[in-house]
Symmetry: C2
Subunit: 329 residues, 2 copies
């Protein structure tokens, strides 16, 4: 709208890595030039397959992502990787080590790796991840991978932005029963037992397969395959790629991918709207100050929020379906 | 408003643990009876000191919290503990072990321990934590402790609901430099090096003290003390309690605690309002369906959100300071 940067969009579509890096920085910072940039390249968005990789610290996610990238390159597919929050002190050490090894891969122009700190985009990590994926998609990678560490609330949202979610577990680092209890099974499209040579791996595979079976059998749902790999020695990687590919094929059949992406887009609208509301109305229109006054008048935070919500409800349409759009193209 | 439960409020204020457990469940589930309950007990809220404990998996947080509780009991202070997300598969095993040890302490009526799963309250973990703290506060504990595992975005919000934030590190599990880079120092009011007998502990203490000094010296800011403990052997626990107590005394001087709690309450209003907006307007008034239509009309999520935001701005007051409140008491 205001400060257009057609050159950045052109650079992005022309495959300039510097333009891509800058576009991701805009996404990360919620730069006000980002929406126009996305508009300018959006026709090229939607071709990449999006893989989310999550699992406990120490499960070997980074090594696995590294190996996946290598295998994909052997198949002449280009790969864009987002690593969310490698600056975490909790995994920082190990991850940085892996990352340095992965950076070697960046000498290959068919691979792009970018770290996203969750700090800079607090409150908007999932929004920023989807935005970054969109520009990476427009850039033209065949495969996008987002790797998150830990499974907090924000991390669930991040992997939710993927077409296919790969959950990486390893024997010892939280067993299969823990994974079942935690809801990790519910987000997994493919389950991967890494370090499959460790004791307990076979039992873990059997437990997970049974759990997956119970959850999905006879319900017409996707049944997540459980794949054993040893990312360090490259063993089982072909099977893992096949499993990912088979989930992708399943999604693409019967319009499931399109449906899933519509829901992802709706989630993203909600996130952008929430940030916009916080910026333009909570801060920009003094709702924050009004809330302070309401706290004094209402005692509890819930009372204050309720009073504000009543005012919002009074001012806003009772049924949005009936709203006529009056904005111009 | 609708279904009042004065008996639950009365039970809570009378110190019935069953009533407390139920009140926390309401907080966790965003039960619609919760706001009235909170209103009924809110006069009793505000006396507890609130401690947030965070740090990497394996730093020994649970053991430390257990020891802190034991020391506080020796001083005849009552303790309420919230453990956020012990169901995480990433820390579940170890944490459950510790938790079982902690449960022994629940035979003591002066200690209450409750686990909060982040799953159930997705999107509202910080909101639920503050609500739970408020009812625990009304119940009458001297000390409240919330322990979070990992530091994602949601976990930062959770510890932000505390008066005093204790960051627990241990040599080896992410070094001091990592902690500095990660922003952990920025949230810490007290830094604790656990397992201080491990190699590297002295160096870590020195590094952290230097970093803390650089960040805070001469700026009139609180300078977080760095305390070495060995929670397993109880060594250094007195010093840690003193450090927490000294931060509390600093807060209580010059009205800082009051200011900090006002900001916490405002954050809570914003969270409750956001959940209320999502429920009453996004879902309840069909804004979600309207957003779907806008996606079709706008291509990008940002375009769709912008169109909706323009409509919100057109309908809402241009300056909330001028809004007359018309709701009755």
């Amino acid at each position: 709208m205001n400060s257009q940067q057609p050159s950045l969009a052109q650079g992005l579509l022309a495959g300039q890595r510097g333009a891509l890096a800058r576009a991701i920085t805009w996404a990360e910072n919620a730069d006000r030039r980002f929406p126009q940039l996305l508009e300018d390249v959006y026709a090229a968005v939607g071709r990449s397959h999006r893989l989310g990789v999550t699992g406990p610290p120490g499960a070997g996610k980074s090594t696995l992502v590294n190996q996946l990238a290598r295998h994909l390159r052997e198949l002449e597919r280009t790969v864009g990787i987002l690593a969310v929050d490698p600056s975490s002190p909790f995994t920082g050490g190990a991850l940085l080590g892996d990352r340095i090894r992965m950076e070697e891969r960046t000498l290959d122009p068919g691979v792009f790796i970018r770290s996203m700190a969750s700090r800079g985009s607090r409150g908007g990590l999932a929004r920023a991840t989807v935005d970054a994926f969109d520009v990476m998609d427009a850039f033209g990678f065949d495969q996008l991978i987002v790797e998150t560490v830990g499974v907090g609330q924000a991390e669930y949202d991040v992997v939710g932005a993927a077409d296919t979610v790969l959950v990486v577990l390893c024997p010892g680092a939280g067993d299969g029963v823990q994974a079942m209890k935690s809801g990790l099974l519910e987000v997994a499209d493919v389950l991967c037992i890494n370090k499959a040579d460790l004791p307990g791996a076979d039992r873990m595979v059997a437990d997970l397969e049974e759990a997956v079976h119970i959850r999905t059998a006879g319900k017409g749902l996707w049944m997540p395959p459980v794949v054993s790999v040893s990312a360090g020695t490259d063993q089982g990687l072909d099977g893992l790629l096949e499993a990912i590919q088979s989930h992708r094929a399943w999604l693409e059949a019967e319009g499931r991918l399109q449906l899933s992406r519509q829901e992802q887009r709706l989630d993203q609208v909600q996130r952008v709207l929430r940030e916009g509301f916080d910026h333009a109305i909570w801060e920009g229109r003094g709702l924050e100050g009004y809330a302070r006054a309401m706290i004094k008048a209402s005692r509890t935070p819930h009372g204050a929020a309720e009073r504000i919500l009543e005012q919002l409800k009074a001012a806003l349409p009772s049924e949005w379906a009936q709203v006529q759009e009056e904005t111009q193209p």
